[in-house]
Amino acid sequence: MNDTTLRFLPGKNNTFTAKVEKISGQKLLACYQCGKCSAGCPMAAYMDILPNQIVRMAQLGMEKQLLASRTIWTCVSCLTCNSRCPKNIKIAEVIESLRETALRNGQRDDRLNIWEISPEVRADLPPIAMIAAMRKLTS
Protein backbone atom coordinates (compact mmCIF):
# COMPACT_ATOMS: atom_id res chain seq x y z
CA MET A 1 0.00 0.00 0.00
CA ASN A 2 1.47 3.25 -1.08
CA ASP A 3 0.36 6.22 1.04
CA THR A 4 0.70 9.38 -0.92
CA THR A 5 -0.14 12.83 0.34
CA LEU A 6 -0.43 15.50 -2.28
CA ARG A 7 1.26 18.65 -1.02
CA PHE A 8 1.32 22.07 -2.58
CA LEU A 9 4.83 23.42 -2.27
CA PRO A 10 6.06 26.93 -3.00
CA GLY A 11 6.66 27.21 -6.69
CA LYS A 12 5.97 29.31 -9.72
CA ASN A 13 2.21 28.74 -9.54
CA ASN A 14 1.74 29.78 -5.95
CA THR A 15 1.81 33.54 -6.42
CA PHE A 16 -1.45 33.37 -8.37
CA THR A 17 -3.05 31.03 -5.84
CA ALA A 18 -1.99 33.37 -3.03
CA LYS A 19 -3.42 36.35 -4.91
CA VAL A 20 -6.80 34.66 -5.40
CA GLU A 21 -6.87 33.72 -1.71
CA LYS A 22 -6.05 37.27 -0.69
CA ILE A 23 -8.63 39.02 -2.88
CA SER A 24 -11.37 36.49 -2.16
CA GLY A 25 -10.52 35.92 1.50
CA GLN A 26 -11.02 32.16 0.95
CA LYS A 27 -8.87 29.16 1.83
CA LEU A 28 -8.77 27.30 -1.46
CA LEU A 29 -7.19 24.15 -0.04
CA ALA A 30 -10.26 23.49 2.13
CA CYS A 31 -12.08 22.26 -0.99
CA TYR A 32 -12.40 18.47 -1.26
CA GLN A 33 -14.17 18.49 -4.64
CA CYS A 34 -17.59 17.23 -3.58
CA GLY A 35 -19.13 19.12 -6.50
CA LYS A 36 -22.12 20.49 -4.59
CA CYS A 37 -21.42 24.01 -5.90
CA SER A 38 -21.68 22.86 -9.51
CA ALA A 39 -24.68 20.63 -8.83
CA GLY A 40 -26.78 23.53 -7.59
CA CYS A 41 -25.44 26.26 -9.87
CA PRO A 42 -28.28 27.74 -11.98
CA MET A 43 -25.72 29.13 -14.44
CA ALA A 44 -23.73 25.88 -14.88
CA ALA A 45 -25.45 25.15 -18.20
CA TYR A 46 -23.89 28.28 -19.71
CA MET A 47 -20.38 27.75 -18.30
CA ASP A 48 -17.31 26.17 -19.92
CA ILE A 49 -15.61 25.32 -16.59
CA LEU A 50 -17.76 24.26 -13.63
CA PRO A 51 -17.48 26.04 -10.27
CA ASN A 52 -15.77 23.10 -8.52
CA GLN A 53 -13.28 22.94 -11.39
CA ILE A 54 -12.62 26.67 -10.97
CA VAL A 55 -11.61 26.06 -7.35
CA ARG A 56 -9.38 23.12 -8.33
CA MET A 57 -7.69 25.11 -11.08
CA ALA A 58 -7.18 28.03 -8.69
CA GLN A 59 -5.50 25.64 -6.22
CA LEU A 60 -3.16 24.64 -9.03
CA GLY A 61 -2.51 28.25 -10.04
CA MET A 62 -3.82 27.85 -13.59
CA GLU A 63 -4.02 31.59 -14.19
CA LYS A 64 -4.15 31.67 -17.97
CA GLN A 65 -6.97 29.13 -18.31
CA LEU A 66 -8.99 30.68 -15.50
CA LEU A 67 -8.81 34.23 -16.80
CA ALA A 68 -9.74 33.07 -20.31
CA SER A 69 -12.77 31.08 -19.16
CA ARG A 70 -16.34 32.03 -19.97
CA THR A 71 -17.41 30.96 -16.48
CA ILE A 72 -16.03 33.98 -14.67
CA TRP A 73 -18.32 36.22 -16.76
CA THR A 74 -21.30 33.87 -16.49
CA CYS A 75 -21.49 33.65 -12.68
CA VAL A 76 -23.96 36.27 -11.40
CA SER A 77 -23.13 35.86 -7.68
CA CYS A 78 -26.48 34.29 -6.74
CA LEU A 79 -24.56 32.60 -3.89
CA THR A 80 -26.28 29.20 -4.10
CA CYS A 81 -22.81 27.58 -4.08
CA ASN A 82 -21.72 29.62 -1.04
CA SER A 83 -24.76 28.69 0.98
CA ARG A 84 -24.42 24.96 0.21
CA CYS A 85 -20.65 24.41 0.44
CA PRO A 86 -19.99 21.90 3.27
CA LYS A 87 -16.54 23.43 3.76
CA ASN A 88 -17.85 27.00 3.92
CA ILE A 89 -15.84 28.11 0.95
CA LYS A 90 -17.35 31.14 -0.76
CA ILE A 91 -17.00 30.06 -4.37
CA ALA A 92 -18.69 33.22 -5.67
CA GLU A 93 -15.95 35.24 -3.94
CA VAL A 94 -13.30 33.12 -5.65
CA ILE A 95 -14.92 33.76 -9.04
CA GLU A 96 -15.24 37.49 -8.30
CA SER A 97 -11.53 37.62 -7.49
CA LEU A 98 -10.81 36.13 -10.93
CA ARG A 99 -13.13 38.65 -12.60
CA GLU A 100 -11.44 41.50 -10.77
CA THR A 101 -8.01 40.17 -11.73
CA ALA A 102 -9.02 39.99 -15.40
CA LEU A 103 -10.51 43.50 -15.35
CA ARG A 104 -7.57 45.08 -13.56
CA ASN A 105 -4.62 43.65 -15.43
CA GLY A 106 -4.10 46.90 -17.31
CA GLN A 107 -5.81 45.78 -20.54
CA ARG A 108 -9.25 47.08 -19.51
CA ASP A 109 -10.82 44.14 -21.29
CA ASP A 110 -14.44 45.09 -20.54
CA ARG A 111 -17.08 42.44 -21.15
CA LEU A 112 -19.94 44.83 -21.78
CA ASN A 113 -20.24 47.71 -24.17
CA ILE A 114 -23.33 49.72 -23.30
CA TRP A 115 -23.29 51.49 -26.69
CA GLU A 116 -23.79 48.18 -28.48
CA ILE A 117 -27.20 47.87 -26.81
CA SER A 118 -30.00 49.56 -28.71
CA PRO A 119 -31.53 52.71 -27.19
CA GLU A 120 -34.95 50.98 -27.02
CA VAL A 121 -33.55 48.09 -24.97
CA ARG A 122 -31.58 50.49 -22.78
CA ALA A 123 -34.70 52.54 -22.08
CA ASP A 124 -36.60 49.39 -21.10
CA LEU A 125 -33.99 47.95 -18.72
CA PRO A 126 -34.36 48.63 -15.01
CA PRO A 127 -31.54 50.88 -13.69
CA ILE A 128 -30.36 48.17 -11.28
CA ALA A 129 -29.70 45.83 -14.22
CA MET A 130 -27.54 48.42 -15.98
CA ILE A 131 -25.58 49.39 -12.88
CA ALA A 132 -25.10 45.79 -11.74
CA ALA A 133 -23.86 44.71 -15.19
CA MET A 134 -21.44 47.61 -15.40
CA ARG A 135 -20.13 46.97 -11.89
CA LYS A 136 -19.53 43.29 -12.60
CA LEU A 137 -18.40 43.34 -16.22
CA THR A 138 -16.45 46.56 -16.74
CA SER A 139 -13.22 47.92 -15.31
Binding site: K22, I23, S24, G25, P42, M43, A45, Y46, T74, V76, S77, C78, L79, T80, N82, S83, K90, A92, E93, E96, S97, E100, R111, L112, I114, I117, D124, L125, P126, P127, I128, A129, M130, I131, A132, A133, R135, K136, L137
Partner: protein, 298 residues
Protein backbone atom coordinates in the same frame (compact mmCIF):
# COMPACT_ATOMS: atom_id res chain seq x y z
CA UNK B 1 -46.01 54.09 13.60
CA UNK B 2 -43.48 56.14 11.68
CA UNK B 3 -40.97 54.55 9.40
CA UNK B 4 -38.14 55.73 7.14
CA UNK B 5 -38.53 54.36 3.63
CA UNK B 6 -35.71 53.87 1.11
CA UNK B 7 -37.23 53.40 -2.37
CA UNK B 8 -34.08 53.03 -4.51
CA UNK B 9 -33.57 54.05 -8.13
CA UNK B 10 -35.61 51.38 -9.90
CA UNK B 11 -38.74 51.99 -7.83
CA UNK B 12 -38.60 55.57 -9.04
CA UNK B 13 -38.16 54.50 -12.66
CA UNK B 14 -39.29 51.26 -14.30
CA UNK B 15 -40.80 49.80 -11.11
CA UNK B 16 -43.04 52.68 -10.04
CA UNK B 17 -45.79 50.10 -9.51
CA UNK B 18 -43.69 48.63 -6.68
CA UNK B 19 -43.21 52.09 -5.12
CA UNK B 20 -46.83 53.26 -5.21
CA UNK B 21 -48.21 49.93 -4.04
CA UNK B 22 -45.74 49.86 -1.13
CA UNK B 23 -46.55 53.39 0.04
CA UNK B 24 -50.32 53.14 -0.36
CA UNK B 25 -50.68 49.77 1.34
CA UNK B 26 -48.52 50.90 4.27
CA UNK B 27 -50.85 53.88 4.73
CA UNK B 28 -53.80 51.44 4.98
CA UNK B 29 -51.87 49.58 7.68
CA UNK B 30 -51.45 52.79 9.73
CA UNK B 31 -47.72 52.99 9.12
CA UNK B 32 -46.59 56.50 8.34
CA UNK B 33 -43.91 56.07 5.71
CA UNK B 34 -41.44 58.88 5.18
CA UNK B 35 -39.10 58.74 2.20
CA UNK B 36 -35.48 59.07 3.22
CA UNK B 37 -34.13 62.57 2.64
CA UNK B 38 -31.23 62.82 0.12
CA UNK B 39 -30.95 59.07 -0.47
CA UNK B 40 -28.45 57.88 -3.06
CA UNK B 41 -27.66 54.65 -4.94
CA UNK B 42 -27.50 51.61 -2.64
CA UNK B 43 -24.50 50.27 -4.53
CA UNK B 44 -26.66 47.72 -6.43
CA UNK B 45 -24.33 44.75 -6.10
CA UNK B 46 -22.29 43.86 -3.06
CA UNK B 47 -18.63 43.68 -4.11
CA UNK B 48 -17.35 40.32 -2.88
CA UNK B 49 -13.67 41.20 -2.49
CA UNK B 50 -12.58 40.60 1.12
CA UNK B 51 -10.85 43.96 1.43
CA UNK B 52 -13.19 46.04 -0.69
CA UNK B 53 -13.90 49.41 0.90
CA UNK B 54 -14.78 51.65 -2.03
CA UNK B 55 -18.04 49.88 -2.85
CA UNK B 56 -19.25 50.29 0.73
CA UNK B 57 -19.21 54.09 0.52
CA UNK B 58 -22.58 54.44 -1.26
CA UNK B 59 -24.48 52.19 1.17
CA UNK B 60 -22.82 53.76 4.23
CA UNK B 61 -23.78 57.25 3.01
CA UNK B 62 -27.41 56.10 3.04
CA UNK B 63 -27.01 54.74 6.57
CA UNK B 64 -25.69 58.16 7.63
CA UNK B 65 -28.81 59.80 6.12
CA UNK B 66 -31.03 57.40 8.06
CA UNK B 67 -29.19 58.21 11.27
CA UNK B 68 -29.61 61.95 10.64
CA UNK B 69 -33.32 61.66 9.81
CA UNK B 70 -34.01 59.47 12.83
CA UNK B 71 -32.14 61.85 15.15
CA UNK B 72 -34.23 64.88 14.20
CA UNK B 73 -37.63 63.14 14.16
CA UNK B 74 -39.51 62.52 17.39
CA UNK B 75 -40.38 58.85 17.92
CA UNK B 76 -38.45 57.53 14.94
CA UNK B 77 -36.22 54.51 15.38
CA UNK B 78 -32.75 54.38 13.85
CA UNK B 79 -33.86 51.92 11.20
CA UNK B 80 -35.35 52.01 7.75
CA UNK B 81 -37.35 49.85 5.41
CA UNK B 82 -36.88 49.08 1.74
CA UNK B 83 -39.08 46.87 -0.40
CA UNK B 84 -36.52 46.32 -3.19
CA UNK B 85 -34.73 43.01 -2.58
CA UNK B 86 -31.59 44.27 -4.30
CA UNK B 87 -31.31 47.44 -2.19
CA UNK B 88 -32.07 45.42 0.92
CA UNK B 89 -29.34 42.90 0.16
CA UNK B 90 -26.65 45.46 -0.68
CA UNK B 91 -27.42 47.79 2.22
CA UNK B 92 -27.73 44.98 4.75
CA UNK B 93 -24.49 43.30 3.70
CA UNK B 94 -22.57 46.57 3.72
CA UNK B 95 -23.97 47.23 7.21
CA UNK B 96 -22.89 43.77 8.43
CA UNK B 97 -19.46 44.20 6.84
CA UNK B 98 -18.68 47.59 8.42
CA UNK B 99 -20.08 46.52 11.80
CA UNK B 100 -17.74 43.51 11.77
CA UNK B 101 -14.72 45.48 10.54
CA UNK B 102 -14.18 48.69 12.53
CA UNK B 103 -11.02 49.47 10.51
CA UNK B 104 -13.00 49.49 7.31
CA UNK B 105 -15.66 51.70 8.88
CA UNK B 106 -13.11 54.20 10.09
CA UNK B 107 -11.54 54.35 6.60
CA UNK B 108 -15.00 55.07 5.15
CA UNK B 109 -15.78 57.71 7.80
CA UNK B 110 -12.44 59.39 7.10
CA UNK B 111 -13.14 59.31 3.36
CA UNK B 112 -16.56 60.88 3.99
CA UNK B 113 -14.96 63.70 5.96
CA UNK B 114 -17.43 66.28 4.69
CA UNK B 115 -20.27 64.47 6.44
CA UNK B 116 -21.11 65.97 9.83
CA UNK B 117 -22.48 62.64 11.08
CA UNK B 118 -20.18 59.65 11.51
CA UNK B 119 -21.58 56.19 10.95
CA UNK B 120 -21.09 53.98 13.99
CA UNK B 121 -22.93 50.83 12.99
CA UNK B 122 -26.06 52.15 14.67
CA UNK B 123 -28.70 51.80 11.96
CA UNK B 124 -30.77 48.69 11.19
CA UNK B 125 -31.81 47.66 7.67
CA UNK B 126 -35.23 46.02 7.31
CA UNK B 127 -37.00 44.54 4.36
CA UNK B 128 -40.71 45.29 4.01
CA UNK B 129 -41.65 41.60 4.34
CA UNK B 130 -39.69 41.35 7.57
CA UNK B 131 -41.29 44.58 8.86
CA UNK B 132 -44.79 43.34 8.01
CA UNK B 133 -44.22 40.03 9.78
CA UNK B 134 -42.45 41.32 12.90
CA UNK B 135 -43.92 44.79 13.49
CA UNK B 136 -47.29 44.94 11.80
CA UNK B 137 -48.09 41.22 12.06
CA UNK B 138 -49.74 39.10 9.38
CA UNK B 139 -52.77 38.66 11.65
CA UNK B 140 -53.29 42.44 11.77
CA UNK B 141 -52.79 42.58 8.01
CA UNK B 142 -55.49 39.90 7.61
CA UNK B 143 -57.89 42.01 9.72
CA UNK B 144 -57.34 45.03 7.46
CA UNK B 145 -58.14 43.15 4.25
CA UNK B 146 -61.23 44.62 2.57
CA UNK B 147 -61.30 42.43 -0.50
CA UNK B 148 -59.97 38.92 0.26
CA UNK B 149 -58.19 37.44 -2.75
CA UNK B 150 -60.23 34.26 -2.49
CA UNK B 151 -59.42 31.55 -5.00
CA UNK B 152 -56.32 33.27 -6.39
CA UNK B 153 -53.48 30.77 -6.72
CA UNK B 154 -50.14 32.49 -6.19
CA UNK B 155 -46.56 31.22 -6.57
CA UNK B 156 -44.05 33.18 -4.47
CA UNK B 157 -40.67 33.67 -6.08
CA UNK B 158 -37.84 34.78 -3.78
CA UNK B 159 -34.87 34.64 -6.13
CA UNK B 160 -31.46 35.11 -4.53
CA UNK B 161 -31.37 38.36 -2.67
CA UNK B 162 -33.87 37.79 0.12
CA UNK B 163 -32.35 34.49 1.21
CA UNK B 164 -28.65 34.56 0.41
CA UNK B 165 -26.21 34.87 2.05
CA UNK B 166 -27.70 33.48 5.26
CA UNK B 167 -26.54 36.56 7.23
CA UNK B 168 -29.15 38.67 5.44
CA UNK B 169 -31.92 36.05 5.27
CA UNK B 170 -34.91 36.67 7.55
CA UNK B 171 -36.34 33.26 6.78
CA UNK B 172 -35.12 29.76 5.87
CA UNK B 173 -32.42 29.89 3.18
CA UNK B 174 -33.60 26.85 1.20
CA UNK B 175 -37.34 26.96 1.85
CA UNK B 176 -38.52 30.43 2.84
CA UNK B 177 -42.26 30.75 3.63
CA UNK B 178 -42.65 34.41 4.66
CA UNK B 179 -44.18 35.52 1.35
CA UNK B 180 -46.55 32.53 1.32
CA UNK B 181 -47.72 33.46 4.83
CA UNK B 182 -48.35 37.02 3.69
CA UNK B 183 -50.26 35.86 0.62
CA UNK B 184 -52.39 33.59 2.83
CA UNK B 185 -53.15 36.58 5.10
CA UNK B 186 -54.56 38.35 2.03
CA UNK B 187 -56.99 35.48 1.50
CA UNK B 188 -55.22 34.03 -1.55
CA UNK B 189 -53.87 30.49 -1.89
CA UNK B 190 -50.06 30.30 -1.82
CA UNK B 191 -48.73 27.47 -3.97
CA UNK B 192 -45.30 25.97 -3.42
CA UNK B 193 -43.02 25.44 -6.42
CA UNK B 194 -39.53 23.97 -6.53
CA UNK B 195 -37.62 26.81 -8.21
CA UNK B 196 -38.65 29.59 -5.84
CA UNK B 197 -35.09 30.44 -4.79
CA UNK B 198 -33.36 29.80 -8.13
CA UNK B 199 -31.60 32.74 -9.73
CA UNK B 200 -33.39 34.48 -12.65
CA UNK B 201 -30.11 35.42 -14.35
CA UNK B 202 -30.02 38.93 -12.87
CA UNK B 203 -27.92 41.46 -14.78
CA UNK B 204 -27.44 39.17 -17.79
CA UNK B 205 -30.63 41.00 -18.81
CA UNK B 206 -28.27 43.60 -20.26
CA UNK B 207 -25.81 41.59 -22.33
CA UNK B 208 -27.16 38.03 -22.51
CA UNK B 209 -30.97 38.14 -22.76
CA UNK B 210 -30.93 34.58 -24.19
CA UNK B 211 -29.84 33.29 -20.76
CA UNK B 212 -32.73 35.18 -19.15
CA UNK B 213 -35.20 33.70 -21.66
CA UNK B 214 -34.03 30.20 -20.73
CA UNK B 215 -34.23 30.95 -16.99
CA UNK B 216 -37.69 32.47 -17.44
CA UNK B 217 -38.86 29.36 -19.29
CA UNK B 218 -37.62 27.12 -16.47
CA UNK B 219 -38.77 29.23 -13.49
CA UNK B 220 -42.17 30.33 -14.85
CA UNK B 221 -42.67 26.85 -16.31
CA UNK B 222 -42.07 25.30 -12.89
CA UNK B 223 -44.65 27.67 -11.35
CA UNK B 224 -47.14 27.09 -14.12
CA UNK B 225 -46.94 23.31 -13.61
CA UNK B 226 -48.52 23.98 -10.20
CA UNK B 227 -51.48 25.55 -11.98
CA UNK B 228 -51.06 29.05 -10.53
CA UNK B 229 -52.67 32.28 -11.70
CA UNK B 230 -49.64 34.48 -11.21
CA UNK B 231 -46.19 34.79 -9.66
CA UNK B 232 -45.25 37.39 -7.04
CA UNK B 233 -41.76 38.78 -6.47
CA UNK B 234 -39.98 41.32 -4.32
CA UNK B 235 -37.20 42.30 -6.71
CA UNK B 236 -37.51 44.69 -9.66
CA UNK B 237 -34.76 42.80 -11.48
CA UNK B 238 -36.56 39.44 -11.17
CA UNK B 239 -39.83 41.15 -12.09
CA UNK B 240 -38.33 42.58 -15.27
CA UNK B 241 -36.60 39.34 -16.28
CA UNK B 242 -39.55 37.03 -15.63
CA UNK B 243 -42.13 39.40 -17.14
CA UNK B 244 -40.40 41.02 -20.13
CA UNK B 245 -38.59 37.89 -21.38
CA UNK B 246 -41.73 35.76 -21.68
CA UNK B 247 -42.05 36.28 -25.46
CA UNK B 248 -38.46 35.05 -25.89
CA UNK B 249 -39.21 32.09 -23.60
CA UNK B 250 -42.20 31.25 -25.80
CA UNK B 251 -39.97 31.26 -28.90
CA UNK B 252 -37.58 28.92 -27.08
CA UNK B 253 -40.30 26.59 -25.88
CA UNK B 254 -43.66 26.58 -27.74
CA UNK B 255 -45.35 25.03 -24.69
CA UNK B 256 -44.47 28.02 -22.53
CA UNK B 257 -47.54 29.64 -20.96
CA UNK B 258 -47.64 33.40 -20.44
CA UNK B 259 -48.35 34.36 -16.87
CA UNK B 260 -48.37 37.74 -15.08
CA UNK B 261 -45.64 38.67 -12.60
CA UNK B 262 -46.65 41.03 -9.78
CA UNK B 263 -44.99 42.57 -6.76
CA UNK B 264 -46.38 41.21 -3.49
CA UNK B 265 -47.21 44.81 -2.58
CA UNK B 266 -49.59 45.02 -5.55
CA UNK B 267 -51.59 42.12 -4.15
CA UNK B 268 -51.61 43.90 -0.78
CA UNK B 269 -52.84 47.11 -2.43
CA UNK B 270 -55.52 45.09 -4.23
CA UNK B 271 -56.71 43.36 -1.05
CA UNK B 272 -56.61 46.62 0.93
CA UNK B 273 -58.51 48.39 -1.88
CA UNK B 274 -55.98 51.16 -2.41
CA UNK B 275 -57.35 51.94 -5.89
CA UNK B 276 -56.05 51.52 -9.44
CA UNK B 277 -53.43 54.27 -9.06
CA UNK B 278 -51.71 52.12 -6.46
CA UNK B 279 -51.44 49.16 -8.85
CA UNK B 280 -50.07 50.67 -12.09
CA UNK B 281 -50.76 47.54 -14.15
CA UNK B 282 -49.87 49.62 -17.24
CA UNK B 283 -46.18 49.07 -16.42
CA UNK B 284 -46.38 45.29 -16.89
CA UNK B 285 -45.49 43.41 -20.02
CA UNK B 286 -48.00 40.61 -19.36
CA UNK B 287 -51.23 42.30 -18.27
CA UNK B 288 -52.31 40.96 -14.84
CA UNK B 289 -55.97 41.97 -15.33
CA UNK B 290 -57.26 38.87 -17.19
CA UNK B 291 -55.77 36.51 -14.58
CA UNK B 292 -57.35 38.57 -11.79
CA UNK B 293 -60.67 38.89 -13.66
CA UNK B 294 -60.82 35.09 -13.96
CA UNK B 295 -61.05 35.05 -10.14
CA UNK B 296 -63.44 38.03 -10.05
CA UNK B 297 -60.75 40.28 -8.61
CA UNK B 298 -60.09 42.82 -11.37
Amino acid sequence: MKLIYYPGCTLKNSARNFDVSTVSSMAELDVEVEELDRWNCCGTVHALGAENVMNRVAPVTNLIRVKETAAKTEGMASEFMTSCAMCYNTLKRANIDVKKNPDKLSTINNFLNLETTKYEGDVEVRHLLEYLRDRVGFDKLAEKVKKPLTGLRVACYYGCLLVRPKEVAFDDVENPMIMENLIAALGATPVNFPLKTECCGAYHAVGKPEIIADRTDKIMGSASEQDVDLVVVSCPMCAYNLDFRQDDAKRLNPDFKHMPVLYFTQLMALALECGDDALRFDLHHIDPKPALAARDLA
